[in-house]
């Protein structure tokens, strides 16, 4: 039971990182300024690296398939990412707000996990702490400046915040196995994470001259953690494995 719970946690974290990494990599070459292309691209590499590291734990510790198979040959219904990360990159305001909301959750999640009794995860959390801290610094800087920029930028940031809010709350969709994790001091749970996140993002949103959207529980976009995904995940997964599928006999690319 405990192992199932850890696997569930690892899969959702890995899948989140893999998919948002792919989304952010789409900015390479088309960002609002060259310097920002570079930043988004690095963060995409970091996220995809985190996914790989998490799949490696699944492989090494729990006998799952290797990282490439898990990432590029798994069926959609077995993915546990939240629907938030699946959404297309949209315009820059959507992408930066998503990064802001998602990475604050990541930073707190990894911070909690750095104390985990599951050592592989605690070690990984300590190792990538700096990367995620940078992602958050990057997002905060842009949110603050765009939130206080022109009339257009303020309006865009507010409307993206409103649009993404219920997606973002979907990050914290609870798993039935979660109590095992809390009981074993592996992870403090999504509820605790959500509360800490809410406090943090609220203070930054307000400091940026923006309004925290009102939460309507019925509108929170759940499902991803249980394998129910938006219309955008399947096409992306197909894209990701297009080359692999083009030659099934091929072992090596």
């Amino acid at each position: 039971m405990k192992n199932e719970a850890i696997k569930d946690l690892l899969f959702k974290m890995a899948d989140d990182a893999l998919i948002i990494g792919h989304r952010n990599s789409e900015w390479t070459g088309i960002g609002p300024m060259l310097e920002e292309d570079l930043a988004f691209s690095s963060m995409a590499q970091d996220k995809i690296g985190h996914a790989q590291a998490l799949y490696n734990i699944l492989h090494d510790t729990f006998g799952e398939a290797d990282a490439n198979t898990l990432a590029f040959k798994r069926e959609e219904k077995n993915f546990k990412c939240c629907q938030f990360v699946e959404q297309p990159i949209g315009e820059y305001d959507f992408s930066i707000v998503r990064q802001f909301l998602f990475d604050h959750a990541e930073l707190i999640r990894y911070d909690m996990l750095s104390q985990s009794s599951f050592l592989q995860l605690a070690q990984l959390a300590k190792k990538v702490k700096g990367e995620i801290k940078y992602h958050v610094m990057h997002a905060d800087t842009f949110v603050k400046q765009l939130g206080k920029g022109t009339e257009e930028s303020k309006a865009r940031m507010q409307s993206s915040l409103n649009y993404t809010w219920h997606f973002a709350l979907g990050i914290f969709e609870k798993s039935e196995l979660e109590n095992d994790l809390i009981f074993e001091n592996i992870f403090d749970g999504e509820e605790e994470l959500k509360n800490r996140w809410l406090e943090k993002v609220t203070s930054i949103i307000e400091a940026s001259g923006l309004k925290v959207p009102a939460t309507d529980e019925s509108k929170i976009v759940y499902g991803g953690r249980k394998g129910f995904h938006s219309e955008y995940l399947k096409p992306l997964l197909d894209e990701m494995c297009e080359v692999v599928r083009s030659d099934e006999v091929t072992a090596e690319w």
Partner: protein
């Protein structure tokens, strides 16, 4: 021909007629002859500045437009290793653009002016990026051979006379060696793989062969020369010399994999000079003037990026801050 040093007729004429202060010109030229670099705040001939801006700007455009054909396969790269390498490689190209635009800015043209000239078609970029990346094997061939060609050009240019350009190229050449390695690695995996992998590699080589020959620009006998640009170390090697160097370095590396080039006449003569069939220089001209398979898309995507990002840049602008030319 990343940043082209081929002159138009008018340019070539003006090069020889612009009158400069003779004392300053002499000091400038003897500095270059001594092997010293020119720095941004030095006096320099009007034409030197103009040709350098043109060349560095084209080089910068080539980097950021070059990110587009390769970007085509970012989401489809088949495994972690290839995906991370490709994203990092394309990221480097954007970084090269950033470094080169910065070097050109020290000569007095803003990045925004350069972007506008790219989008209006006034300023060119390397022709090679007007061709499509049809399959995953194109990524291997671009990474190995297009980057290989670029390295020949950039290594030579890094010996030039303008300090900021040389500094940028030094860093760029360092990163290019990673591009080359990962490109070669990718080519070797395909060439030593399955029938399908070898077939897509051969197909990609067939399509990229001519654009690669075009890369260094028209044959010396067809292009306008400038002794001055050579003397000023803006141009350091002839198109034919660079092309020959490229063929010498890379053709054997493809042949050793039992992959062919689509040219029965491709061979190295006893004098060390490579021979090849006429790669159709009319096509080269047609593509450079907008008639290539991807010219329209490349510009449309760059335009999209600039326009879609405008509100961001405007929101960040502080109107009380006055832009000043960067120092180095």
């Amino acid at each position: 021909m990343y940043g082209s040093t081929n002159l138009s007729e008018e340019d070539a004429k003006r090069m020889n007629t612009t009158v400069e202060d003779s004392d300053k010109l002499e000091a400038f030229e003897s500095r270059i002859a001594r092997g010293e670099k020119i720095e941004p705040s030095d006096w320099m001939p009007v034409e030197y500045r103009k040709q350098l801006i043109r060349m560095i700007e084209q080089h910068a455009h080539s980097e950021i437009v070059g990110a587009l054909p390769e970007g085509t396969w970012i989401t489809r790269a088949p495994n972690f290793r290839r995906k991370l390498a490709l994203i990092a490689k394309v990221q480097d190209e954007i970084g090269h653009g950033q470094l080169l635009y910065s070097a050109a800015e020290t000569l007095g043209k803003t990045r925004e002016e350069m972007m506008n000239d790219l989008l209006s078609g006034k300023s060119k970029y390397s022709n090679v990026f007007n061709y499509p990346a049809n399959t995953w094997a194109d990524i291997a061939v671009i990474g190995f051979l297009v980057d290989g060609a670029a390295i020949v050009n950039q290594t030579i240019n890094s010996k030039g006379s303008y300090g900021p350009y040389c500094r940028a190229l030094e860093r760029i050449c360092y990163e290019e060696s990673f591009h080359l390695k990962q490109g070669h690695d990718n080519v070797v995996y395909l060439a030593t793989g399955t029938k399908h992998q070898r077939a897509i590699l051969q197909d990609a080589i067939n399509r990229w062969y001519r654009p690669l020959l075009h890369f260094f620009g028209p044959p010396d006998k067809m292009s306008a020369h400038s002794e001055k640009l050579m003397k000023w170390k803006v141009k350091l090697a002839s198109n034919d010399d660079m092309r020959n160097q490229f063929l010498d370095m890379y053709v054997p590396k493809i042949w050793e994999l039992d992959i062919a080039f689509p040219d029965p006449n491709l061979k190295k003569n006893s004098d060390g000079i490579w021979e090849f069939s006429d790669p159709d220089w009319d096509e080269f001209k047609r593509v450079i003037n907008g008639g290539g398979p991807c010219n329209a898309e490349r510009i449309a995507v760059r335009k999209f990026a600039e326009e879609a990002g405008r509100w961001v840049r405007q929101a960040l602008m502080n109107p009380s801050e006055k832009y000043q030319i960067p120092l180095a």
